[in-house]
Subunit: 676 residues, 2 copies
């Protein structure tokens, strides 16, 4: 390592230390330990700070997101749209330097990390998307996509199950564009990792099918790191490099968990700066020669991007169809008129399970929207997520598919799937990707789902078997709290379509979405096609399906209970009770409508009864009375369970009649009519 | 294998096949493949079908719970309280044989399985508890606890991250009482496992520190299985045995995923019965000699239990203190007067963070309640879950603790921790066990949390850093939807105490619980001790803290927002508005109170405003207006974020005044006053 390199590394280190000190909060330990690797990696990476979304950039994922002072320092040094001033505002309200890297707010941050295990799993998704993109559009004479994905991860990430799931799949898929560095510093928050984490990490990754490498000393051996990167690039397998480092390198408390999550003391910072050849009285210093070193890499990279632009221009000439498609995708536009492929239904069409209706949508749209790729967590035949003309995404050697395949066999790895989906979305090129599992097991992936919403990844969960209606599999498989959980996540669309038109509306919303993830909850059992539904009305998230003059009651329902509510309404009219029926397939979309529309659906003056065969939790925002299931379900035939719990036209009519009776003579305010 | 053994194995197989056929639903494939191992394992196990909760029984965990027809068949054959008639009712509503094994409903089922990966992880918890119990109470001359934990798991369980987490920890802890069988049948729902799962499983488990064994042919080699069990019992490490089997062994479709999750066809069943030497026209047949074979094992086991009873009687004489304690624990009684150790506070006591108040509770109760054990997912210093006199639960060779230790270093493995906690509870001996993490990361364990609630495991999550008040770590760490998610789970107590007395009440509820799991959400920041709180009133789950005559408005809040509501009430009184303040630390407990009490807290005639710094989802069940945070949080100093979002006395008073204004002249019905 040259003296200049050493200075550059120490500059990274001290910027991170100064940022944490200024905030009086944060994590200096990992930046001090990982700065040499960060320097070595970024000096080999291709990227353009002025065009951070360039599609053929190499990606850097900081899976141990608490080390973000390291990442922010790199972004400043390489000239991204992040300044020393931003660094001084580290962890302050409203700054561009939040306490964990937020992809949404900080240019150059590829994915939001912090929740451990997510970053490395996102990286698997980015790598998968890169392979799929390259296999789809590269030509023998035009490698328009060939980027690598670099990952830093710590002991914490390696302990998380989500990382295990994603890493196992990455090994299976032989995603050799992943180059991961394990920050092996023997420290986690509880102290020495020997209190809980003594497994043979490299042995495990070898078992996953990864290429395993080691660098002798991560604190000093930049050349060794660079050589490991070169070796990794030649591998046919994803690579993990064990990098022994000293947490808090150079600090008086180096090598202890004391430097993990608290600022260094003032005198410690001073001795550190002195030790590193910096003025102990100055902060946030960037030596000129360091700026020059990194500027040089940026300008070389500018040439790399220029060359790529020329390559792509030539590509478009030689392969105009593919070129136009790539260009369209990079612009974020869907194919013109794609939505015409969405199926529409009339009440004369036969009853069909919404999971089957979902399959029909996919069969129609997958051929016309090439950016759609999807898969299932080993429930393909139940989720009905694989259309007949989809090819599996597999390493070609397997003879089971190839890298241009659009169907991903995730295995029984829901959380890994969720994090990988986020990575696919983060790759760019407007990928719209979906993953199938039972609605109940979306919960396994809760950690990834909330990050989809936070990071605005427009991924879609095809969540079948959405209620007690799944029947015999019983309470372990029947969602009760799941929709409440998902509906409470900001920026998550949770659709529960009631028929074919609503299913098409759900997919229309999902595919057109650029910043909101979707969960589409679908039935195992057949549902009739409703009179009054359409893609257009359902696209408001909530609408009146049966509208009568001066209704006595409104029954608001979702999914499989809408048809029951319709039948209950008919039954009630025989008793002289006028019951409107409202379908609310997606709370988030309904909440986005203007209040006058909302109040036209759920007006003042009429008591509202909600009906849904799961937890009533949250339904009181739309209703005065709630009929649901605030207990776990039961194992038995689906219709028998519905009957048992009273989710029948008679049962719903009875609750509606009681609602009318109770509110007779009382002033009734719409729950949507609010004081503020 | 003898002819009789073969007949016994085929009896198990055909009972399972007949049960699935009768239900016309279920999973015949795994029972056909795993019956030989089931026979071999159960013939080595000690247990008493008439006393299924005998504390020193060996445990059997069917991690691939969909194979439950196998387990139910064994329970019938060994004479548990489950009959052939029950088997004929397989998967029917109200039967004792639900579609997945439910520990709560079926005697002999140790833990509820079906959601993949949970069973093996529960088994790690059972094994941990057994080691802790043995190390605490065994004496050199009295091995009163020495049971083994047998586990069956399939390819699905092995792909789940939760199983990876728990298995890594089991290897670290050297839990050599675990003997797991991997049903290596190369099939999962998507077909051949080679589409997604090609890792080297045994290599991975070796890396975790397990003993790995293989049986050549799981379909036929019962002696090989028995020998593997013997070898496993001698190991110093947990053991996993690779058992190659043929899914659907004997069926015309054996070896394909077609036999995984659907009944065999009628003619297939007939040829199967003929092949196995049974009458193809008969169903649910148990040959007399098979009954005798298994009865023999049961009566030998009866002697084993009798011997243990004698041993324990002698133990009680020689070690009266320990004997009395074991007896008390087995009876499910807590130590007399334990609750006197709960701290109480007055308004003069200083402001303290509820996470710190939680630590004080633990410091007080851990010494007097030996059945309390706990740990943290690598956040000990943040969760404050380790009292100063706790010893780590570690293998003694590590010199970091020993097996009588009561503090568990879970590592960064939240989901594994949740499943292990369930296993500890399932062991028996009235273990009350807790696990710490940030509230936001309880979501990582959602799959295990819902099973705690479903299976009535009284485990406790110490969930600190419970809001935006955690500050700088930012949106990735700040819960928004988490409480809504957890509150919507049936039978889950979700406490969010507002001060010291409420924290004590939360722990009182948790420790006295025998069938309801608890989450205790705790602040990072200091909170004042409230005037009017007490363990007694808080134990109602909701109560009036500030009560005024003819109030204009009620402010209902939880946790850190209660003190803000109190200050808002004072501010409002200056404006001539009378605002009652209600604290609702636990929805579930409050919902269990009688309606007259509930209506005394939230009566008709007064508009109610809820205040909580996270999603308002669900709060409309108690309030007319909701002030909360229906978006993700922000990175910054905690107080600055509270201020930014308006969670100040002024901000709350403003919302309350608007509420009063809006409802002026309107009839106001309590949201708890219901039509049905
Ligand atoms: Ca570490
Ligand atoms: Ca299998």
């Amino acid at each position: 390592m040259s003296e200049l390199e050493q200075k550059a590394i120490n500059t990274i280190r001290l910027l991170a230390v100064d940022a944490v000190a200024a905030a009086n909060s944060g994590h200096p330990g990992a930046p001090l330990g990982m700065a040499p690797a960060a320097h070595a990696v970024w000096q080999t990476m291709k990227f353009n700070p002025k065009n951070p979304k360039w599609i053929n950039r190499d990606r850097f994922v900081l899976s141990n997101g608490h080390a973000c002072a390291l990442l922010y320092s790199l972004l400043v040094l390489y000239g991204y749209d992040l300044s020393i001033e931003d660094l001084k505002q580290f962890r302050q309200l409203g700054s561009k330097t939040p306490g964990h890297p937020e992809a949404l707010d900080v240019p150059g941050v590829e994915v939001t990390t912090g929740p451990l295990g997510q970053g490395i799993s996102n990286a698997v998704g980015i790598a998968l998307a890169q392979k799929q993109f390259a296999a789809t559009y590269n030509k023998p004479d035009f490698q328009i996509s060939d980027s690598n994905i670099f990952v830093f991860l710590g002991d914490g990430c390696l302990q998380e199950g989500v990382a295990s799931e994603a890493s196992s799949l990455a090994g299976h898929l032989k995603l050799n564009n992943i180059i991961a560095f394990w920050d092996d510093n023997h420290i986690s928050i509880d102290g020495n990792t020997n209190v809980a984490f003594t497994e043979d990490v490299l042995g495990r990754y070898k078992a996953y099918g990864w290429n395993i490498l080691e660098v002798e000393n991560g604190n000093t051996d930049v050349d060794g790191i660079t050589k490991a990167i070169e070796a990794a690039k030649k591998s046919d397998l994803p690579t993990i490099i064990r990098l022994p480092t000293t947490i808090g390198f150079g600090s008086l408390a180096e090598g202890t968990h004391g430097v993990h999550g608290a600022p260094l003391k003032a005198d410690d910072i001073k001795q550190l700066k002195t030790k590193f050849g910096f003025n102990p009285e100055e902060s946030f210093v960037i030596p000129k020669e360091v700026t020059e070193l990194y500027n040089k890499h940026v300008s070389e990279n500018q040439q790399v991007e220029n060359d790529w632009n020329k390559l792509f221009a030539a590509y478009k000439e030689k392969y105009p169809t593919e070129g136009a498609e790539v260009e369209r995708r990079l612009s974020g536009k869907l194919p013109e008129g794609w939505e015409k492929s969405l199926p529409v239904y009339t009440p004369n069409d036969k009853p069909v399970a919404t999971r089957k209706l979902s399959e029909i949508v996919l069969s129609n749209v997958v051929p016309v929207v090439p950016e759609i790729i999807g898969g299932s967590a080993d429930l393909t035949g139940s989720n009905l997520t694989r259309t007949t003309d989809m090819v599996d995404f597999q390493h070609p050697d397997t003879k089971l598919g190839d890298y241009s395949g659009r169907y991903i066999r995730y295995g029984v790895r829901e959380h890994g799937m969720g994090a990988i989906m986020n990575g696919i979305a983060a790759f760019g090129a407007n990928y719209k990707n979906y993953g199938g599992t039972f609605l109940n097991f979306v919960s396994y992936a809760a950690g990834a789902v909330r990050l989809s919403a936070l990071s605005h990844h427009p991924v879609t969960w095809v969540a079948t078997h959405d209620s007690i209606g799944l029947g015999e599999d019983g309470p372990t498989h029947q969602p009760i709290e799941t929709l409440a959980h998902l509906r409470a996540i900001p920026n998550l669309s949770v659709w529960r379509p009631a028929d074919g038109n609503e299913t098409s509306a759900a997919y229309k919303s999902a595919i057109e979405s650029t910043s909101t993830p979707h969960v589409i909850a679908l039935t195992r059992q057949n549902l009739p096609q409703l009179e009054g539904s359409s893609i257009e009305v359902a696209s408001k998230g909530g609408y009146t399906l049966i509208k009568q003059d001066k209704p006595d009651v409104i029954i608001a329902a979702s999914g499989s209970e809408v048809a029951i509510a319709v039948d209950a309404s008919k039954k009630l009219s025989e008793e002289g009770i006028k019951a409107n029926v409202v379908s609310i397939p997606d709370f988030l979309t309904f909440d986005k409508q203007d209040q006058s529309y909302q109040l036209s659906v759920l007006p003042d003056g009429v008591p509202i009864l909600s009906v849904e065969v799961m937890s009533t939790f949250g339904w009181s925002k739309y209703s005065h009375e709630q009929f649901g299931l605030n207990r776990f379900g039961a194992s038995g035939k689906g219709p028998a369970i519905y009957e048992y719990f009273g989710f029948t036209p008679e049962g719903v009519a009875d609750k509606a009649a009681k609602t009318v009776q109770f509110y007779k003579g009382k002033d009734v305010l719409s729950p949507l009519n609010k004081a503020f």
